[in-house]
């Protein structure tokens, strides 16, 4: 028999987490990595993976001691496990994004006809089939390319700049985050009406 308190703990974790739990938890993750003498930055893994695949032959940017960065690949691997654990054991019966009523309304303009409380966590265009549609291809391949290119050009992503950089009061990170939001707003408000 599983003890009652473990079942209660599972139910407790299975609730949607409020922002005030998630934010400090992310800060704690940053602290743990600093405490281990490392830095929190997930997108660095893309560079590490390129280097591990031999990209150093094409550009000096990938000639570095990537093996010493293996710990970061382990964080990425752990994140995959975390995604598996959360989605298989802690979903609490529903796997939805609890977005606001206003968002449900504005999603209708893009052709997403969801009722409130029924917006899925991950949209349907994240499937292998949608790679054969123009929109799916643009989002998955185009989006991936922009994320990978932009993160390295800016020297970091949400974890490296928005969390680590701003926590350490780094001005370059503030410029990068302003850039993230300019890009995000342009995409959401100017490109989406054409794309969807």
């Amino acid at each position: 028999m599983v003890p009652d308190f473990l079942i209660q703990l599972k139910d407790f974790i299975s609730q949607p987490w409020p922002w005030w739990v998630a934010g400090p938890m992310i800060a704690l993750i940053m602290f743990i990595l600093l405490f281990f003498g490392k830095e929190f930055g997930i997108s660095a893994n893309l560079r590490i993976m390129c280097a591990a695949d031999g990209a150093g032959e094409f550009s000096d940017f990938f000639k570095f001691d990537w093996q010493s960065q293996g710990w970061n690949l382990m964080v990425a691997l752990g994140a995959m496990f975390g995604g598996y654990i959360a989605s298989h054991y802690f979903v609490g019966g529903s796997d939805v994004a609890h977005v606001s009523a206003a968002t449900v309304e504005s999603l209708k303009e893009l052709g997403f006809n969801y009722k409130q409380g029924e917006v899925p966590l991950v949209p349907e265009f994240y499937s292998w089939e949608s790679l054969f549609t123009l929109r799916g291809l643009i989002i998955i391949v185009g989006g991936g390319f922009l994320v990978g290119f932009g993160a390295r050009y800016a020297g970091g992503c949400t974890s490296g700049h928005a969390i680590s950089g701003l926590s350490a009061l780094q001005l370059p990170s503030l410029i990068a985050v302003v850039g993230f939001f300019i890009g995000g707003l342009v995409m959401t408000h100017l490109v989406f009406p054409i794309l969807f």
Binding site: F81, S100, A102, P123, A168
Partner: protein, 137 residues
């Protein structure tokens, strides 16, 4: 490198971002429409808690498990690099609704098509490596 502890940190990150719905395309869409405080709450509370942590580390001269004092390397001063790179990243973040962390998390939660997304992101990083000398930094 002790492997297990980094995997544990990753698991913590994965469960947190998944359960807080930060991996959701719809949450990112909502954020860029300013229709909920949720994502801003996550980011702001992480930064505020993070600022406290950084101050404590600096003032106590805290040492890492490797025995060295924890230091923060100032990033190179520049505007174009961070602004242009940031805008490109932001375009992708809003389009795909995922940044690099959620990319790994969703792959693990069963959306195997993110392998293609990862390959595209690696190709993006690779392309940056090829053309970086021609870009303003």
């Amino acid at each position: 490198m002790k492997i297990s502890r980094y995997i544990f940190v990753g698991i913590l990150l994965g469960v947190t971002l998944y359960k807080a719905e930060a991996v959701s395309w719809f949450r990112i869409y909502e954020m860029f429409h300013f229709q909920s405080f949720h994502m801003y709450g996550i980011i702001f509370s992480a930064i505020i808690a993070g600022m406290g942590i950084v101050q404590i580390i600096k003032r106590t001269h805290m040492k890492s498990t490797e025995g060295k004092e924890i230091t923060f390397h100032p990033k190179d001063r520049s505007v174009p690099r961070y602004l242009i790179g940031g805008i490109i990243f932001g375009l992708g973040w809003a389009l795909a609704g995922v940044c690099p962390g959620p990319m790994f998390i969703l792959m693990g939660s069963g959306y195997t098509v993110f392998i293609v997304f990862l390959a595209a992101a690696m190709f993006g990083t690779f392309t940056y490596g090829l053309v970086r000398n021609k870009l303003p930094h």
